[in-house]
Amino acid sequence: MAKGKYRTLVKLLILAPYLILLYILQATVFTRVTLMGVKPLLLPMAVAGVAMFFGRTDGGVFGLFAGMLMDLSYNQATVQFTLLLTLLGILLGMLSDTVLVQGFPSFLVSALLGLFLVSAYQALSLVVLRGAPLRLTAAIGLRQSLYSLIFTIPVYYISRFLCRVMGAGRGI
């Protein structure tokens, strides 16, 4: 039991600074570094990384906090990303536990899935709630997903490194 608590504490000490660092990057640095008129999304990719290397439970918990910070970085008082990224963490963790082989190609697929889910949610919610044209919101979503893909390599290796530091027992 003591060992389990210790592992949870270590996980917290490793993943919390990682999450905060990504949040700061997404909310401050990359709000000014735009490409094709859009900013990248780092937090959904980080959720994909943690879900792949740490499993569905940790993926879900990480997704919960990542979602809260994402809502915060969007200047909105809703919990839409809190819910969305929690579900994403659990879903990708399940896929990693059952279907996906751990490695960069699987991570790329997971990250793409996460990014497209978030972008699709954003675009469709604007279409449904505000009557925004789907063509334009989808184009923005596609651009932000493509831009974010640049960061899959560092996010993958950092997630893998953290997993190794933890000695997480998922066959790494």
Binding site: G37, K39, N75
Partner: protein
């Protein structure tokens, strides 16, 4: 000593004395000019002397360097500290200079609009969303900021309005955001319309003015200002300039494309208009 006074030694002493005598006679006869001895010795000794001088100079330089190393190091430290201090002073000067310029510009704007109360705020962070344009500022309701207060830059150009307030911070939604909608007036011809953000123009940081009754009167390069209708924005705040005329995808609704006068990418300090005289 024993060897010196031997026969061989006496020859050497004798030869040396002879050379000395010749040298003395030569110096006495030359009367200040280079003597015979000098002429003879110069080609031989000059390179040696030169080499020795160079060697001594080098030794002296090494000695000086070693001897003064601590002193030089201390001086270096002092100079580095001085450079750092000057850099800091320069940064402060630049900041003060920029603030001074902003305040001068604001003063000009405030003098023209004495009916307005303004609260200076600092831009803290921009939204990470690609579907919205908003930023968080450093003051909230405790500084008198309220929901829907208009926000301008130091030149008085409209930036947006406050859309969320806490006690210590506020969120400002800019005029290019797709949720923005305000009464606009084409300054040159007095035509009124509705200025609002548009997804088509969002990426290029522009907005549109729709519902202008006579679109043909819209002038490219013409100024667009707030009409003041609705009482949320004061009348006469500059929104931007008309950069083109376009038509909606349905082909039925023409609109003027407006480029904001404020530089949204360079905002660091803005001013919230907390109170103004409403003129309908």
């Amino acid at each position: 000593m024993k060897e010196l006074f031997s026969k061989k030694g006496l020859y050497i002493v004798g030869a040396a004395a002879a050379v000395a005598v010749i040298a003395a006679v030569s110096v006495a006869l030359s009367a200040g000019n280079a003597g015979f001895a000098s002429l003879l010795s110069e080609p031989f000794f000059k390179p040696i002397k030169s080499a020795m001088t160079s060697l001594v100079d080098s030794m002296e330089h090494i000695y000086d360097t070693m001897y003064r190393f601590d002193e030089t190091q201390a001086e270096n430290r002092e100079l580095r500290a001085r450079v750092a201090q000057l850099e800091q002073e320069y940064r402060e000067y630049t900041e003060i200079s920029e603030e001074n310029e902003r305040l001068r510009n604001l003063l000009g704007f405030a003098e023209r609009h004495e009916d307005m109360s303004m609260e200076p705020v600092t831009v803290l962070s921009w939204t990470a969303s690609n579907y919205a344009s908003s930023f968080t500022v450093s003051k909230g309701s405790s500084a008198g900021i309220a929901l829907y207060d208009p926000v301008v830059d130091e030149y008085g150009f409209l930036v947006g309005q406050v859309t969320s307030v806490t006690a210590t911070s506020s969120v400002v939604t800019t005029l290019i955001d797709t949720t923005t909608s305000l009464g606009a007036l084409l300054y040159e011809n007095g035509e009124t319309g509705v200025a609002c953000g548009d997804y088509d123009l969002f990426g290029s940081r522009k907005l549109k003015v729709s519902y202008i009754s006579d679109m043909s009167s819209a002038v490219i390069g013409g100024t667009v200002v707030t009409s003041g209708s609705g009482g949320i924005y004061p009348a006469g705040l500059v929104i931007g300039t008309v950069s083109g005329i376009s038509v909606s995808s349905s082909g039925l609704d023409p609109y003027a494309v407006v480029e904001p006068s404020t530089d949204l990418s360079a905002l660091s300090h803005v001013y919230v208009i907390t109170d103004f005289a409403v003129s309908e």
